[in-house]
């Protein structure tokens, strides 16, 4: 709990920033560059394009299975928190879902920086113990005979879910397909959008 005399968080962040700027240790340009990477470059739309390519191109899917880090780099998606990417393919028998219970590790280059619900103590504490009720609560009601595998990002592997390709999308372009793949679908808390 913060104390009664604790400075507001915005003032504390500004204090650190101004101290580093005054000492010449950090520049405004560096800060802007990092914020640009976090907000604009590392996005779940990148992962959606990877999935659309995997659905469309069996040779790419094979490369993704063999070495997802290299396959994502083919599309230009690499960087911090993407040093060892592993894809998790959903099937009609098994559904995959990702969590980091101890902090909030995520494959930034393909999933983007994590959202607040993913970082919340509620999701981190609950999804490993009660994945089915948690997914239902998030709007994903899976068949009772479909097993759920929860992947805990406790080391340096960074996961990305490859959802099942929705029926009725035969002949769709990769651009069309990528629009169906939400951030939640890449984490495993949702299916791709309905067609």
């Amino acid at each position: 709990m913060n104390r009664a005399d604790t400075a507001p968080i915005a003032a504390r962040a500004a204090a650190v920033k101004s101290a580093l700027l005054d000492k010449g240790l950090l520049s405004a340009e560096t800060i802007d560059h990092i914020v640009h990477l976090g907000a604009e470059e590392w996005r779940h739309e990148n992962g959606a394009r990877v999935v659309a390519r995997a659905w469309s191109d069996p040779a790419f899917m094979a490369r993704l299975r063999a070495d997802a880090t290299a396959a994502c780099a083919e599309l230009g998606y690499e960087g911090p928190q993407g040093e060892y990417i592993v894809v998790l393919e959903n099937t009609t028998e098994r559904h995959n879902v990702i969590v980091c219970t101890q902090c909030s590790c995520t494959a930034w280059p393909v999933l983007g920086l994590p959202t607040d619900w993913y970082k919340s103590p509620e999701y981190r504490a609950r999804v490993v113990r009660e994945p089915r009720p948690v997914l239902r609560e998030l709007g994903l009601d899976l068949p009772e005979d479909m097993a759920i595998r929860v992947w805990e990002t406790s080391a340096e592997t960074r996961y990305m879910v490859i959802p099942l390709r929705p029926a009725g999308t035969e002949g769709w372009s990769e651009v069309q397909l990528a629009k169906l793949v939400t951030r939640d679908a890449l984490i495993g808390t949702a299916m791709p959008l309905p067609t």
């Binding site: 400075a7 500004a14 204090a15 914020v35 976090g38 219970t101 619900w117 919340s120 406790s154």
Partner: protein, 209 residues
């Protein structure tokens, strides 16, 4: 023994609240906190991701749970900047116009006795047990799987061993393993659902088949 960050399986948490069309950063201070963390490698003489993770884990438990992710980030990275002499807490408090609570110090004896394992001792399909170890410092085997037995699905490349990397130890790389645990093993419940945990070699020991 578990730190407050080691939340997996803990009871008492309520519904998960989701925001629609959530922005990456909700306010400038969040973006600033992220930028300071990302720049930390060039600001700190002795920076590792594990030292940073542990700086967050060292926050007082009530503080940790009561604030936003990016406030934990700012608190942790600022703690390292102050501890390593880059910034001064009193100066920061003057600039901020109020108190600037930091994380608590590193434990006197942070490491468990886990001998280095430079070669992969285990293989896919093997049954392994997670050691029931209790370090006071940084470690990455979640409490919910310690002492539990699972099956190896995949052998990952070597990565820096987090326990020593967080506490200034010499570089020590070990393979990690994706180990699958049943709900029966972890929670004593019957379910077809499983949890896969990514675990360093020296966290594990062989188990009878």
């Amino acid at each position: 023994m578990r730190g407050i960050h080691d939340l997996g399986g803990m009871y008492g948490f309520g519904p998960i609240v989701r925001e629609t069309d959530e922005p990456v950063f909700h306010a400038e201070w969040q973006a600033t906190s992220f930028a300071v963390l990302m720049a930390a490698g060039s600001l700190l003489p002795d920076f590792t991701a594990d030292a940073y993770r542990h700086s967050v884990e060292r926050m007082a438990p009530a503080h940790y749970l009561s604030v936003h992710y990016y406030e934990r980030m700012l608190t942790g990275i600022t703690t390292l900047l102050v501890e390593q002499g880059v910034l001064d807490q009193a100066d920061l408090e003057t600039r901020a116009g109020g108190a600037f609570p930091l994380a608590l110090p590193v434990a006197a004896a942070p490491l468990a006795d886990l001998p280095p394992q430079s070669d992969a001792r285990f293989r896919v399909g093997q049954r392994v047990r997670v050691r029931d170890y209790h370090p006071q410092g940084h470690t990455r085997a979640p409490g919910f799987c310690r002492g539990k037995t699972g099956t190896i699905l995949h052998v990952a490349p070597k990565f820096a061993f987090p326990d020593t990397a967080a506490h200034g130890g010499a570089r020590r790389d070990e393979h990690t393993y994706h180990v699958e645990f049943t709900a029966r093993e972890l929670w004593g419940t019957d379910s077809i659902d499983t949890v896969v945990v990514d675990l360093w070699d020296s966290y594990l020991e062989g188990s009878a088949p």
